[in-house]
Every structure is written in structure tokens, then in C-alpha cells.
Symmetry: C2
Subunit: 336 residues, 2 copies
């Protein structure tokens, strides 16, 4: 609907709300669970242990190189299920729209959600739409939740992490945040940087099917990047993680942006990557499996678990050993 | 934490985010599913058909007579599960906070969520917190999702609605929206009006356990009130609903506010009421059961299903018959 904008009356529960929901939103996600528009989506019986997750998305700009807030909202929730070993079954879509938001942009974002949901093989089972006055929100915020079924009984087992385990990262660091920063600062670069936003479910569930308990623990390094996620993993598994700086995969263009803007790629958000702590003996075959997947081509062993007090250290390229702590300085808001 | 305010750094994934999440948020909701702070809450096996729902809450003011956005966010999601016949099992809590929001107010709201979740007998299984710059949101927005298990296989059956069925409303109309309007307009009234925000799960599931398929279809008349919900119910069940104006329960004070502000209580939002379409023969015993419950004391039969084309009509107190359509004029934004 070119030129049309979201009005307050689109959120007030009357005819306009109904038209927006039916003709613009639910129409795109049409499926037998959503379509009756009951107050809940009825998923039927789910055989297995259930995982449940939620994330709010407030990224700015809402459309960035390589993706948009819609793709992000779907993939982020699918990935949160996947790193907990759950096959995504259904997601929800709750929109908060600012009065005046272009309907055409909303349609683009919903189309992205639809495409990402299809790629991740989930239905949108329920949703909600609220509209707030101009100035009371910034364009569009999306909160998605997800329900999944644990794959073959696997569950995160930080307590099983032990010295000799390897740390795997499924690809290059920082692409998402670098792409958002470039879009936000309107930087002109020679090399294009695209967000890595992608659904990892099928890749990670393939690894779990093949390697089960050899995979101890997984996280997706979003806000705070690999640096923060590894610190959290070290804490919950009481493990000492030693990274090998020379093995950390970073795209050349992202490294360049980090130098210009003064960021360390280890703290930049990723939206299509996972960190795995795996049994040392299985690391090579797991890397081989990951590299065959569309989103795992640059998977690498980036470090290992050693004896010693919990924490994250890095063996630098010049041979030193430095602590990788939580970031001290300010990162940036609204990256995801 | 008196005097403290939310900072952008509370949303950036570093130490401040971690402290906010652990010490202020997760601490309140502590339970074995949430506490490992994995990327998903692991609910275990759920035996039965699963219902899944979501709603965003943007009500202003965030604290109003009778409740706040926290209680609203929990009860709204519990009620969306309950009217679909599902016993709530777990909810999620996704916060979007504006930079500068008082931490003390956040704590009040989280305490309300905790109390409402305990009353509704659900755990908060997962959550997320984002912070946006001052001016990019209005204080606090909360999106909750819920997972529940269908009670004894009951499911909404609009297709079973038939002439002779009765329409039940579980209490007075419009209390929530009237309370919010009074708070927003700083009206001084002789009689206090409190929002009806409440979890209806136990009351509605008791009715379903006792009366099963005699209950055809339920909705909670939130945005757009009884008027809009009944129109949607008439549409999906292809039923002609005739209301009896003299039987519509409205508190005296709410009627007064409606006269002052020019609203029709039939279109005002409720947050602790349900509409039921039930088999005519079971209407009286269902009313009896409802009236024994804390939130059903004013339950009443307000109309019936008759032969004729789908729609909602009202037999007025002076004996006429008028159409109750979707509201034409503007309602008000941010009531829930």
C-alpha cells in the first residue's frame, strides 16, 4: 500500500485494526494454526521436551545491509531455540508500531519474516499489534517468542565441560554489528559488509543428531559478541577458556571498520553464528559437518578449555596471554 | 534502588546488562527453568495439546488504579490461554525500556508480574531486556508470551454455536479502560474506579472441567470491549447474537465516567472478564459456578443466539432493536 501510514486507529481494536491484522499481517503468515485468529495458537501435541524463548528487537536502522528487523526477529528466536538443542516448531510475532510508520516498510519487514520462517521451517502461530503515538516509539519494535522440541533429548550441559574440550565458532565475527554500524553512520566503504543474520537450526540440529553429548554447550554470540558469550559460558561451566587469536575468523572488511571506528570485533554482535564447546576428540569431525552447511563454511576451532580458574584468556599473535573480560567501555545501543 | 535510572549500557550485553538481568529481573522470577539463564527455558515434557499466545503491552500511564503494566502483561497472556481452554504453564517477559526509566518503578512493575504469575500459577521461563535512547520509547513496553496445555481436550468450537445458546459475561464492563482514562486525564471522582485486571485461568478452567463441550467458545473482551469481541465471535461462529441491554452489567461509577467522557461502556476494554457462548440448558449452572469464583461474582447472561444472519443486535431498555457494530469513531490508544 504505497504512501499509506500506520494510524493510531490501527491499534484500537476496531475495524481498522482488524483490516491491518487480517489483510496485511495474518494474510502473509497464513497457516491452519494462526488463521482462526483465536486468542492462542493451538499447536496440538508436541512429543518431547519443550523449549520456550523470547527476544525483543529494536535495531536501528530497521533495514540494514543483509537483512532487516523482521529477518532478525525470526532468526534470533530460532537460534535461541537451536543452541538449546530444540527444533523450532512455532513462533509468535508481537509488533509495536509508531503512528506514521510507512505501511510499505511494514510489508517489506513482514515479507522478510515470512521468508525467514519458511527457511527455518516454523509457523507463525500467534501475534499481536499495538500502535503508539508519534514520538512514543522509534518506528517499529518486534518481539518474537518461540516454542521448540528438544532434539533427541539433548540439553545444554555446562557441567560436562572439561579441560581438553574445544571451542568452535561457526564463522566470522562481527558481521552483523559492522553492517548496522555502517548503515547507521552512512559510511562509504569499498567492500560491502552484510549482516550475517540467518537461521542456524538445521545446521546445529544436524550436528546434535550426529554428535549428541560430544557437544556440551552452545550459545549464539549476539549482543556483546563472542567476548561476552564466552565469559558467560565460562561462568556457567566454571571453565577456563583459552582462545587462539590467530584462529579467530574476522572478515577483512569488518577488521577495517573496527579499526576506523575503534571497536574490537570480539565484542561485536553476530546474528548467524554459534559458539560450541565440544569434546576435543569430536572437534575435527564437527568442524567438517559444520563446513558443509550453508551458514558454517568458515567454522573454526578458536580455542580450548584448560585447567585453571574460570575465565576467558587469549593467546595473542605475538605470544602473550591476555584476559578477555566483559567489555568495559560503552558498546552501542540498538544493534539487535 | 531509589534514584537509579536505566542507562543505555543496561541494554548493551556487558556487565551492566548482566547485573540488571540477574539482580533486578531474574532474581524476582527465580525458578529452575529460568535460573540457568540459557537461551531458552527448558519446560520438560508437556502432556496434552499445546496453546501458544503473545501480547504486547504499551498502556499509559504504566501504573493505574487497580494495577500496572506488569500485572496487565501477565494476566492478559494468562487470559488469552484460558479462553482457548489451556492451563497456563509458562510465560515469557520481554522488556523494552527507555533510557532514564526509574529503576524503582521497574522494580514495582516486576513485583506485580511476580505476584500475578504466582496467582496464575505459572513460571516466568524466559525473558529479554532491551534499552532504547531517551525519546525512542515511552517508559516501558512489555511483551509476554504464554504456553499452556489444553484442558481435557477442550478447544474453541465456534462452529458448534447454535440458536438457543446463551451469551455470558463474567462481570461488569469497562472497568479497566475507565480506570486508565481517569488516571490519564487526572479526573477526580467521588467513587474510585479500579481496573479489573486479573487472571481468569482457574475460574474458566473450572467451568470447562465441569461443563466441557457445553461451553462452545470464549473470548476476553479487551481492546474494543464487549462490542468488538462479540462481533468477532458472531463472525467466526456465523451467529446472530441478540443482547439484552437491561442485563449488561456496568458499575455505576463507570457509567458516570462514560457519560462525562462520551464513551459507550460496551466498547471499553476489560482485562479481567470473559465472554462465553454456552449451551442454553447449561447457562444457569455455569452462572452459578462463575459466581462462586473471586472474579466471577457479577457474571450474567447478557444475551442469546437466535436464528438469522450473523451479527450483533441489542434489545434496548425501551424495547427497540439496534445493531451493535464495530465502533466507528476513534477509541483511545494505549489502553493495554
Amino acid at each position: 500500500m504505497p504512501g499509506q501510514r500506520i494510524l493510531l486507529s490501527h491499534g484500537e481494536g476496531g475495524k481498522k485494526s482488524r483490516d491491518l491484522i487480517r489483510k496485511i499481517i495474518a494474510k502473509r503468515f497464513e497457516n491452519p494454526i494462526l488463521s482462526p485468529l483465536f486468542d492462542s495458537g493451538l499447536l496440538g501435541r508436541l512429543d518431547g521436551e519443550i523449549a520456550f524463548t523470547t527476544d525483543g528487537y529494536v535495531v536501528t536502522p530497521a533495514i540494514f545491509p543483509g537483512g532487516d528487523i523482521g529477518r532478525l526477529a525470526v532468526c534470533g528466536t530460532l537460534n535461541d531455540l537451536s543452541v538449546c538443542g530444540a527444533r523450532p516448531v512455532a513462533i509468535s510475532c508481537a509488533l509495536i508500531l509508531e503512528e506514521g510508520f510507512p505501511v510499505e516498510t511494514l510489508e517489506t519487514i513482514l515479507d522478510s519474516m515470512k521468508t525467514a520462517a519458511a527457511e527455518g521451517d516454523v509457523v507463525v502461530a500467534c501475534g499481536d499489534t499495538k500502535v503508539v503515538e508519534k514520538g512514543s516509539a522509534d518506528g517499529i519494535f518486534i518481539t518474537t517468542s518461540g516454542v521448540g522440541i528438544a532434539c533427541g533429548g539433548w540439553r545444554p550441559a555446562p557441567e560436562n565441560v572439561r579441560p581438553g574440550d574445544r571451542i568452535i565458532l561457526t564463522g566470522t565475527m562481527g558481521d552483523h554489528q559492522a553492517a548496522v554500524l555502517i548503515a547507521r553512520n552512512r559510511l562509504e566503504l569499498a567492500a560491502e559488509i552484510l549482516s550475517d543474520v540467518a537461521p542456524l537450526s538445521s545446521m546445529l540440529l544436524d550436528v546434535l543428531s550426529a554428535f549428541g553429548g560430544s557437544v556440551r554447550f552452545m550459545r549464539d554470540p549476539t549482543r556483546g559478541g563472542v567476548g561476552v558469550s564466552l565469559n558467560e559460558m565460562a561462568e556457567s561451566s566454571r571453565a577456563r577458556i583459552v582462545l587462539d587469536e590467530s584462529r579467530l575468523p574476522v572478515a577483512e572488511a569488518v577488521r577495517g571498520v573496527c579499526e576506523i571506528l575503534g571497536f574490537d570485533p570480539i565484542y561485536l554482535a553476530n546474528e548467524g553464528k554459534a559458539l560450541l564447546i565440544v569434546d576435543g576428540k569430536s572437534a575435527d569431525p564437527i568442524i567438517e559437518t559444520l563446513r558443509k552447511a550453508r551458514y558454517g563454511r568458515n567454522a573454526a576451532v578458536i580455542g580450548k578449555v584448560t585447567e585453571g580458574p574460570p575465565g576467558v584468556l587469549m593467546k595473542t599473535v605475538i605470544g602473550g596471554l591476555r584476559a578477555v573480560d566483559y567489555p568495559v567501555g560503552d558498546q552501542l545501543p540498538r544493534i539487535c
